[in-house]
Structure formats: structure tokens, C-alpha cells
Amino acid sequence: MQDVKTEKKEFTPNIVAFCCNWCSYAGADLAGSSRLSYPANVKIIRVPCSCRVNPMFVLKAFQQGADGVILCGCHPGDCHYVTGNYYTRRRMALLYSFLNYMGIEKARTRLEWVSAAEGQRFSAVMNDFVKTVTELGENKRLTDLRVKEGE
């Protein structure tokens, strides 16, 4: 007796990943060529450097329904543009702490340093992040923030 799939498809999070072209995107490529799988709902946007990611992009992603946003860059000291990732580290430290202050679970936002040689680490990070966000459930907080009548 084939078990009937529950009609509510169990929740798979929608993850937006910003990867820097020189390190983490190459790391993602290596994870691909080494066939190290991670869930399909992680989608990667290529940026020249992690310092290109504007907080606007992170917030826009949440507004458009992303359940988790992860930003990957080169290890501090290895940045192709010398100091790019140092600025990213400060910006995201402040942004993520601020979002947490606004009541958005900190685990929905993440920053990981992945080098071009770390395909293994890239796939492990993505698997772990999807697991964390799945446990957190759907991101309801960043979309319907207006007080509804009768609330």
C-alpha cells in the first residue's frame, strides 16, 4: 500500500546564497565537480566580491520570501581584492545583530568563509544551513509585518 503523500508538502526552505567569484563560487564549483550534494533549494548569486553585497539585497531577499540568506566569501587575508571581506565582516556583523534585535532569528542569516579549494566545506556548510533553516520553519516575520485589523 503506497503511503499517500501528506497533501501539505513538508516545508523546504528557499535559500539565497551570495558567493564571491574568486573563492566561494569556485568552492561551489569544486563541490559540484566532486559531486558533493546539498539541497536543491540553495540558489547561488555570483558577485565579484563579498563586499559587493548590499544589506538592501539581503533584505530584499527576505521580503521576496527567502527563508534564509547566506553570504560566502574568501577567508580573511585571502581576498582577491585585498580588503573586501574585512568590510563585509563588519557590515554583516552589524546587520545580522540588528536583524536579531528586530526579532528575526539570527540563524536565518549566516556568513561563511570558503576558499576555492574547500568543496567539501562548501557542501557541508550548505547542508548544515538548510537543516538549521528547516528547523526554524518558514520565514513569516519578514513578510507580513503590518498589523492586521483585529490583531
Partner: protein
């Protein structure tokens, strides 16, 4: 209205195996703005590119999206194809549906759905692409080689022979590097100095080559075509132009107790010394930690005896700043420290030595004048045991996970030379696997076994301990399934090698990526093995991975070929995806210049018409497109969004985010 063509690649079966390429092409056909969608087995092939060119002409496309492998692989190919068909090459976007999709997900439905989303995202981006023209930047016709070992020497000679100026920056007092310390070299057993020193002399005499010995790279600015490098010339306390290398000072110097690094510390050397006879430059150097004059101010004997007055105790580090078009990194290697391997008793027994120390003991210029004598009691060793893979192939954290590649060959070389020079000596070698691949290598190893009777034992040594003057080497013999103990007079450890520790600082200076074992990462393991991902930086020798002299020399010549290919050009195409300020919105607040790593942003006062004949002078930012590398740090610091990045504009990335989130 945009007229976009979409091409879905099968990549043979790499994509088609798990992604329903036909369905993807069908679904994408009715995306707004898409006027042509096709799928083909090999988009990067000639016919694949032909398909693109034809479609561009037939459907006069304004932009194309290729769903294929990573843009890091074939973005350039598809851009060139588009350009040949008359379309601006920057109106091409790649959707990575192989490494980021087909290769890592199993379920066909899931991967096809993701492929559609990735292609849709690329379409959203290409709709906002603007045609860009690559700029140009001048190329400085001079190369820098960091490291004066055989790799650096070979690269410098090849580049100089092509007529370009080359500077070699060598950390030690002389060039020659690790090879200068070797006695003989495999597989031909010719004497290392005999084949190395002529090349060193060529370097010294070559009018295009400038050797900066006892110097280190201090700072690197700029980028491919025009690097600006600051070099620290360490104080030698000897005037290079005067010293004739007569070595009187070495004889007279009273501070004799310095450990002679060249002989791996097996004997001593005076404070003022020339590392070895054929040193280039043949100029003395004073070790500041050991020289009595520099430490306490008394003595000064070498200055008295120097016939040409070359000694100068007041000498200070000086700095040299020069421009280069390309940089070759050839920083070489050193054996690892054996602190984690005390089971071999290296620290407590003088007669347990590393292979490099054995090289010095067998070398005529070595501490024992080429006669193989035990360091402890200077007796001739009757039984010598070699232990392979000490610290290599070790993933337990004590050593290095990789195979150091050269130890099997040099141990076979040592065993043969010993058996030939001292036939009555017993030689045993504990090995896990003998790795001697390639031309004449295995034959070389077999000669050691068959012709010279070296005893190769398949098994590993568990412990080396001293018992009444004899070195008891206890190990397993897996073939005979025994545990054996060999009473030896001398134990030689084939120690793992690691890159020079200073390479990590150089990698940071050059922003060249480096892996956890401190090897510099090449741009592509198979197709671009001697280039760093950082344009204009080339890798030769062990700094890129363990290798022997033949491979190092071929890598050095490969680097030279790449450098010559670069320096021949007068102009280099620069990346057009650079920052671009919008003057009407710029506050002139100066925050962007604070974060620009290349100093590409300056401010000017500009007159703006306010309408009604009134004008206003405002301070606005300007970007030098030749210097800007397009990282984008400034675009985020700019609150008003006046600063944007061509090719990766805020609007484009926002549209990509929206395309991804719209399930």
C-alpha cells in the same frame, strides 16, 4: 523590447543525465523577452557556438543566456562567439546548471525546476545588462621573480633571454636555493653543483637580470601589467660592490660558533661568512645575532683584515621600489620539523638524521668533506636504515596528509651511492609503497635493488631506540608477517617537505589564494597549472605543490612562456565591470575612497546647472577605470546608490534576487 536567446547545454550527459534539458528549454520559451530557446549537446563546441552566432543574426538578438557549466569555465568562449556575431560580449549571461545543479542533485524533477529558476535568474540579469567596452592599461616590460632557487633561476633566464628585464629577489645571502645543498641528483646521478652553478653564473652575468640577494618583498600594490613592488634589502653589513669574496674575514672572525644553516646545522660557521664556495653573489654577510661587534660593540677584526674596506657595521635595511608587469613566485620548500615524531628518536640520537642532512654528509663541501661518517662518533656506519614517509601521507594531524613525491627517488639515489662508494655497508629501506613513476624512474629504483642489493622491506618502523650504542630499529615486515629489529649505525628519515613558511605572507601581499597546506592554489588544476587565479602572478616549483627538479624546471619555463606572452603586449584589456559614479546623485562625502583597496577614486569640484540659469559647484567622485578592479566595496558604502558597478549593478542583483525568490 529585449530580444533574448536562451541556449541550454546538455554537456554530453553531465547536465542531460539529471536535468530534463528539453523541458527547461520549453518552459523558458515563454518567458517574457525570450524570442529564441534551444538546447544542444555541446554548446561550447564549434557547432554549439555556431548555433549561437546563427541565432543572433537570424533573430537579431540583443542578449543571450547560456545554461551550461560554470561561467568560470566558458564565459569567455560564449562572449567571444557573441562578439563575432556582432553582439557586445557583455550582453551574455551564464546560468550554472552543471556544477550548481545537475551534478549535485539527484531527483530529476527537483533539478529541472532549479535549472529553470537559475536560467530565469540569468535572464533577469541579462535584461539589465548594458553593452560594455573593455578598457586598456599599459604593461610594464619587466618581470619579478620571488625566490632564487632553480625554479627562480630557470624562469629568470628564460624571460631574460626573450629580452625582458628580470629582478630576482632572494631571501638568503646567495641564490641557488635548496638544490645547492644537494650532492647528486636523480635520475642521472650527476652532481647538483655542476649543473646548477653554471646557471647561477649565467644569471649573474646576464645583463637583463638583476639579483637582489638578502632581500624580501615588503609590499605589493597594483595589478597585472603594472605591479608596484617595495623590496626590503636587508642590512648585510658588507658592501656588495667592494667585497671580492677573498674570505680572509671568515678565517679571522673569532665568533665561530654559529650553526651553519647551509650544512643543516651539522657544523659551525663564523659570524661573517659566504654560505658556500660557488655562492652568487660571492659576497660575505654578517649574522647580526652572532657578531660580537654588532652585539657588544667590541671586536671589528674583519674590518681590519678586509683589504678593500667592504665591512660597514652601520649598514641599515634599505628599500627599493620598482614596477613590474608580471610576478613569478618560486619560493621553494623546507623539510618539516620532526617534533611530532619522537618515536623515531630524531631529537635524542645524533645518528638519526634527515635525508637533507645525509646529502650534506655525502657532499664534498659538507661537514665531513664527502666522507660518510656518523655525526656522533665520526665512525663509518656499517648498517644504514632508511625510513620512508616520515610525516608524509599522515592524516592524523601530526604530519602532512599529502605524499611528498620526491623521497622514494632520493632514497633510492642515497642507497645506490652508499652501496657503490662503500660496498660493505648494509642498507635497508622500510617503505609503504615505492612511488617512482615516469621515464627512467622505476628503472632507477630497480637498479638500487637488483644491481646494488639494497634491502627494501615492505613495512613500517614503530620505534627507534638506543641500546648500548646501537640504534635498534623495530618495525614490521608485512610480506613475511614478522616484526623485525635491525641493529643500525645510522638511521635516515625521508622527511616530508612543506612550502617555505614565508610564502603565506607573499600570498597575502599578492592576494594569491593558498590552501591549508600552504601550497599556492593554481588557477585550474589541469588546464592552467602554473598561473595563480590572481592575474599576472605565476607559480613555479614546490610553492605550488610537491615536485622534483625536472618538473620544477619545466614549470619555471612554463611560467616564463606565460610571462613573455604577457610582457610582449603593449596594452592589456582591462576588466570593464568597474565602478561608475552618477554625478547627479553623488554627495561627494568621501566614504567610498576610504574603502577602495586600489585608490581608484578621487574627487573633483564640478559645476552643475540648477535650472533658471543658476549653477552650483559640487564635489563629486570620479573613478579611474584603469585602476579600479571592480570589487564593489564602494557601492555599498555609498548610501545614495550613486556609485554602482557596471556588469553587477544593484538593480541587476536585485532582479536576480527577485527571480530566485519567485518560486
Amino acid at each position: 523590447m529585449q530580444r533574448i536567446g536562451v541556449f541550454i547545454c546538455w554537456c554530453g550527459s553531465n547536465i542531460a543525465a539529471t536535468v530534463d534539458v528539453v523541458k527547461v528549454a520549453e518552459t523558458i520559451k515563454n518567458e517574457p523577452g525570450v524570442v529564441f530557446a534551444a538546447n544542444y549537446q555541446y554548446m561550447c563546441s564549434e557547432n554549439g557556438q555556431q548555433l549561437i552566432k546563427q541565432a543572433i543574426k537570424e533573430h537579431n538578438l540583443t542578449g543571450i543566456v547560456v545554461g551550461a557549466c560554470s561561467p568560470r569555465m566558458h564565459e569567455a568562449t560564449f562572449r567571444k562567439a557573441a562578439e563575432e556575431a556582432g553582439m557586445n560580449p557583455y550582453m551574455v549571461e551564464i546560468a550554472n546548471i552543471r556544477e550548481h545543479c545537475s551534478w549535485i542533485h539527484k531527483d530529476m524533477e527537483e533539478t529541472t525546476e532549479k535549472a529553470v529558476v537559475l536560467v530565469r535568474t540569468a535572464i533577469a540579469k541579462v535584461k539589465l545588462n548594458a553593452p560594455l567596452m573593455a578598457g586598456e592599461s599599459p604593461v610594464i616590460k619587466r618581470a619579478l621573480v620571488i625566490g632564487g632557487g632553480i625554479a627562480g633561476i630557470q624562469a629568470a633566464l628564460d624571460i631574460a633571454d626573450a629580452g625582458f628585464e628580470v629582478d630576482i629577489v632572494e631571501k638568503n645571502a646567495t641564490i641557488g636555493g635548496r638544490m645547492a645543498q644537494l650532492d647528486k641528483t636523480f635520475p642521472t646521478l650527476d652532481c647538483s653543483a655542476c649543473i646548477l652553478t653554471p646557471k647561477m653564473v649565467d644569471c649573474a652575468q646576464h645583463e637583463k637580470i638583476d639579483i637582489l640577494s638578502y632581500s624580501e618583498v615588503e609590499e605589493v600594490k597594483g595589478f597585472v601589467g603594472n605591479f608596484n613592488v617595495k623590496i626590503r634589502r636587508k642590512a648585510r653589513y658588507v658592501d656588495e660592490s667592494k667585497c671580492t669574496g677573498c674570505k680572509i674575514c671568515m678565517e679571522k672572525c673569532p665568533a665561530k660558533k654559529g650553526a651553519n644553516e647551509f650544512n643543516m646545522g651539522l657544523d659551525n660557521r663564523p659570524a661573517i661568512h659566504i654560505p658556500f664556495a660557488q655562492a652568487i653573489p660571492n659576497v660575505a654577510v654578517i649574522d647580526p645575532e652572532q657578531c660580537i661587534k654588532l652585539k657588544t660593540g667590541k671586536c671589528g677584526i674583519c674590518q681590519k683584515f678586509c683589504g678593500v674596506g667592504a665591512i660597514d657595521y652601520e649598514q641599515k635595511d634599505t628599500f627599493v621600489e620598482r614596477q613590474y608587469g608580471a610576478i613569478v613566485v618560486a619560493t621553494g620548500f623546507k623539510p618539516i620539523a620532526l617534533d611530532n615524531f619522537n618515536e623515531y628518536g630524531y631529537a635524542d640520537n645524533k645518528d638519526v638524521i634527515t635525508s637533507l642532512e645525509l646529502e650534506r654528509l655525502m657532499n664534498a663541501a659538507g661537514p665531513t668533506g664527502g666522507v660518510l661518517l656518523r655525526p656522533s662518533d665520526k665512525q663509518h656506519p656499517k648498517v644504514i636504515t632508511f625510513i620512508q614517509c616520515v610525516g608524509s601521507r599522515d592524516s592524523s594531524g601530526c604530519g602532512k596528509p599529502y605524499c611528498s613525491k620526491i623521497c622514494c627517488m632520493y632514497t633510492a639515489k642515497h642507497a645506490m651511492l652508499i652501496r657503490e662508494k662503500y660496498p660493505d655497508t648494509e642498507v635497508h629501506v622500510f617503505y609503504i609503497d615505492v612511488r617512482t613513476p615516469g621515464k627512467n624512474y622505476d628503472e632507477f629504483h630497480r637498479r638500487a635493488v637488483e644491481q646494488y642489493g639494497v634491502d627494501y622491506i615492505k613495512g613500517m618502523v614503530g620505534k627507534v631506540y638506543n641500546e648500548n650504542g646501537k640504534l635498534m630499529v623495530q618495525g614490521s615486515n608485512l610480506i613475511d608477517n614478522e616484526q623485525i629489529t635491525i641493529e643500525s649505525d645510522l638511521v635516515v628519515l625521508a622527511t616530508a617537505i612543506e612550502p617555505e613558511p614565508s610564502v603565506r605572507k607573499i600570498a597575502t601581499l599578492l592576494t594569491a589564494s593558498i590552501d591549508t597546506n600552504n601550497f599556492l592554489t593554481e588557477s585550474h588544476a589541469k588546464l592552467r597549472p602554473v598561473e595563480s587565479p590572481t592575474a599576472g602572478v605565476y607559480l613555479a616549483g614546490v610553492c605550488q605543490g610537491p615536485k622534483d627538479i625536472p618538473e620544477t624546471v619545466s614549470q619555471a619555463s612554463a611560467c616564463a612562456a606565460k610571462v613573455i606572452g604577457l610582457l610582449v603586449k603593449d596594452k592589456l584589456k582591462t576588466n570593464p565591470c568597474v565602478a561608475q559614479p552618477d554625478e547627479n546623485m553623488c554627495n561627494g562625502c568621501g566614504q567610498c575612497a576610504n574603502v577602495c583597496p586600489y585608490g581608484a577614486i578621487t574627487y573633483v569640484d564640478k559645476e552643475f546647472r540648477l535650472g533658471g540659469g543658476k549653477t552650483e559647484i559640487r564635489r563629486v567622485a570620479t573613478v579611474n577605470p584603469a585602476v579600479c578592479q571592480g570589487c564593489g566595496a564602494c557601492t555599498v558604502t555609498c548610501p545614495s546608490g550613486a556609485m554602482d558597478l557596471k556588469g553587477f549593478s544593484s538593480k541587476q542583483i536585485m532582479s536576480e534576487v527577485e527571480a530566485i525568490c519567485k518560486m
